[in-house]
Symmetry: C2
Subunit: 529 residues, 2 copies
């Protein structure tokens, strides 16, 4: 790994002076084209030993490039706010949008390395981090990002040498502290940690470049030239047609039965029972979110469903039980201009609740595998990889104690038609109905298939889907409130602070069929057609 | 994960009878086309609960398809021979070649599940296995394989139900043993293990299909129809042009120095010293491979180098020290017809040494990132992913205690020309020189770049490269013998049975520059031009 960085690379002052002007001009030109066309974001990760000159090289890049379209992202120890969130949260927040270059001084590699050297995480845990990083960078690469990763390396002697040199010059002596000398002592530990980590994370889509760091000019010139070359090559690349890709086996159901068709949409709740049940579960929810234990938790409720299935109404019934300062409702429509310049999950990462708070998503990140899939807004390869990415995303949440409750509201085609017609005839409801709603109806079957695939691929023990029979709004709202209460309560009662598994009763299959009906409901269903 | 498989799927006898004839015809037709064109291999993985009918469905597939081009691969507990090899070895051996369908009754999933339920591996270790599996299947998918993975699921009640049903019928009662009833008790453990494992290994390139297994007809018909559909879709796919792909940053060296140009090719060894040194290291090696501790080890020596760099001569000097029953030399040329129908690493997996034995590779798996890269025999995306795959491959070896020693023999262009001319003039050496050798010379720089990249990406702590100055054959042979001895000895002396790290002195950077020269050599190098 480090061999090529211990052979005495050096660039003379004159060679450096000769090379820089052309490099600067070309870099500025490439950067302008990048900013203009916004075809992809660029991530430059500068890692390596302490005292290897990371700062100098970053300063050099700033001198050479247009600082307006450049951002440097440094990460110290996580802040209190950051510690409340999944570990990748702060990196998601810092991703450069398409058209910009983000320079990472410190990155998702810094913490795992520090923790492993300090003995806080085992070799196996380090391997697991490497896997997470590979998935994260793989996602970025799939989204088009150009990723350059540099590891600045000094031999042990060179590191000592460099510190002495810096110390002896009054202009740079301030940069050397006892802390730096301490690092010389842990040299071997760093090498033993970084070596395997670099090997494991040197992927086809984001390989490491190990650079000999002793010579300032060599180091900076190499970074500058590699960045330029990579930029030029990528900018020149003709956007190719969708790559040929292994066709995924398509699910076949010879008996035509699926989890949606298996739902019993005739569930009804009488107005009287509804009133009682609603009050019961709302007061229960109010109690739960005011429970002191909830201060170490957070709640995400994700709502998906056919048009006019009643998502908004159900969300309002939850909010009534909450303190307005404690929650936010995030309606999800088409992404904004800013959001389109980022990976599709980016806008949801921004909305994660802090401890003790609640976020309700009216439509969600599942748009990728529902509307974007069915309408062809993204390539098959993109929605096919989304299941894994979404699972990773939700796993990140549940891992830090966020309770994730997901609902699919199902209504029959007839019920939907009825509601559409009602919306048309009632003036104050008319705005809710668009041409798109009618168009979506034509693709009913395709949407149903997409929902089945979604549930199969993303209903996990820690973040299960609940399917809700939505033809009767009263039944739906009560079932949703009850499910939120039960999952939240189970999480709070769980002795282990990070529950792997909420009680089975909330899981889809059971929920869809066997959920205990309140007495009145049973009566009501007897009365069904 | 399992929700869609608990809703009571069923196919009636008449619907089954009606569907099967067309399915059979189409399956046979697709299979014939597959065998004829050999565009890709097909892997069908049948997993799931015990008693869920895996065997019946496989039998059904045999009835429907052409058994000649079908193979079933079952894996019991690893045999003694298999336990000596990396865990993936037995699966590599069993991969179906292009044009064939391999049905895996039990697979790389069985052992991790069994071990986790038995408490032999932790949740973290299970996660690590999932990562390995994803990399393995990802490689297969990149190599073109069509992978279908089925998980046969029964609800707890359905499993009990099914066993009772089988027991009550005299024709099937023999299939139920106390062991099966035992499985009902561990139902929850299986679910808790399989759920997360399935989630993590449900990738875009090889997703799981969870199938409700209670109804024989539904289960088999679904597998048959999905297999047919996937086959037809893949066969119909027009082989697309090489997919657009993120351009990897190209390594730039502003000072023109690299690990090969940094080598001092003037090392010389006098004939007299050579004789002494050769005898010394050969006898040392002879002792080491006869050391009882070597019976728990194995040795792989990998030789790469420019044409006429002296690989063959060096290998023969090693073999002289070995017992002919203990080693084999594997010369690697262009892959055979059979080998071309498999992933490129397949032919090397077949050659791994057993415990206590030695395999010497004259050219190796690195051909992928050397000749295939430079000559354009494979796509950039293919050699770019090869670094990771090769690291995984070697890591698999070192993990089970195989010592991996890798040599690059470097000679100067002048020395190569001299040797070529010598070969031309000496009749019995002429056969060694081909037109291709001359052509390769034209691509000298491209090959040197490929070697630098190879060493940077694949010289790991557990399987480091040693660069050998080859202009003087005596020096080269002694350095190689010495390195083999030192790495082997370090491994045998290592108290930990699986050394993560041979002594630094053997690593490339140091080895290239700082390796302790024998006295005579020092004298010799003083005398150099």
């Amino acid at each position: 790994m480090f061999e090529s960085a211990e052979i005495g690379h050096k660039v003379s002052k004159s060679a450096f002076r000769e090379a820089v002007p052309a490099l600067r001009t070309a870099l500025l030109q490439a950067q302008a084209e990048l900013f203009d066309k916004k075809p992809f974001p660029v991530l430059v990760i500068i890692s390596g030993q302490d005292g290897a000159g990371k700062g100098e090289t970053i300063n050099m890049l700033y001198e050479w490039m247009d600082a307006r379209f450049l951002s440097t992202l440094a990460f110290a120890h996580p802040t209190e706010e950051e510690r409340q969130q999944p570990p990748m949260w702060r990196y998601w927040r810092s991703l450069p949008p398409k058209g910009r270059v983000g320079i990472f001084a410190g990155s998702w590699y810094s913490e795992p390395i520090r923790q492993h050297i300090a003995g806080d995480i085992s070799r196996e845990q380090l391997d697991a981090r490497a896997t997470q990083i590979n998935r994260f960078e793989g996602m970025l690469a799939q989204e088009g990002a150009l990723i350059l990763k540099f590891w600045f390396h000094l031999s042990k002697d060179a590191q000592r040498e460099r510190l002495k040199e810096l110390e002896s010059d009054p202009r740079t002596a301030w940069r050397v502290s006892p802390w730096n000398w301490e690092r010389v002592k842990t040299y071997d530990q760093l090498q033993d940690t970084a070596g395997p980590l670099l090997r494991m994370t040197s992927t086809a889509w984001a390989p490491w470049t190990v650079l000999e760091a002793a010579d300032d000019r060599y180091r900076s010139l190499t970074v500058g030239q590699m960045l330029l070359k990579a930029l030029q090559e990528r900018l020149a690349q003709v956007p190719a047609p969708a790559p040929a890709q292994a066709v995924n086996p398509t699910r076949v159901d010879p008996d035509g039965l699926n989890i949606l068709s298996a739902l019993d949409l005739s569930h009804r709740l009488s107005p009287q029972s509804y009133k009682t049940e609603l009050a019961h579960w709302q007061s229960r929810l109010a109690g739960l979110v005011r429970d002191p234990r909830f201060q170490n938790r957070a709640l995400v409720c994700a709502f998906e469903g056919a048009d006019a299935a009643g998502k908004g109404g159900a969300i309002r019934r939850i909010c009534s039980a909450l303190d307005a300062r404690q929650y936010q409702v995030v309606p999800v429509a088409a992404p904004s201009e800013e959001e389109r310049l980022q990976p599709y999950l980016w806008r949801f990462w921004r909305q994660l609740p802090r401890k003790g708070t609640i976020t309700l998503f009216d439509r969600t990140w599942y748009g990728r595998v529902l509307v974007e899939r069915v309408e062809g807004f993204c390539q098959p390869k993109d929605w096919q990889r989304a299941y894994t990415e979404i699972n990773d995303f939700e796993h990140g949440m549940t891992d830090v104690g966020i309770v994730v409750v997901k609902f699919w509201l199902q209504i029959s085609q007839e019920e939907q038609l009825k509601r559409f017609q009602e919306r048309e005839s009632v003036p104050f409801k008319r705005y809710k109905l668009t041409d798109e709603d009618w168009r979506n109806r034509d693709k009913w079957d395709a949407y149903q298939q997409a929902v089945c695939d979604m549930v199969e691929r993303t209903s996990t023990a820690s973040a299960p889907w609940t399917l809700v029979e939505g033809n009767d709004k009263r039944h739906a709202r009560v079932k949703i409130l009850r499910t939120v209460c039960e999952q939240l309560e189970a999480a709070l009662n769980h002795l282990d602070p990070l529950p792997e598994k909420p009680p089975r009763a909330n899981k889809v299959g059971k929920a869809a069929q066997a959920i205990k009906k309140p007495k009145d409901e049973k009566k009501a269903s007897k009365a069904k057609r």
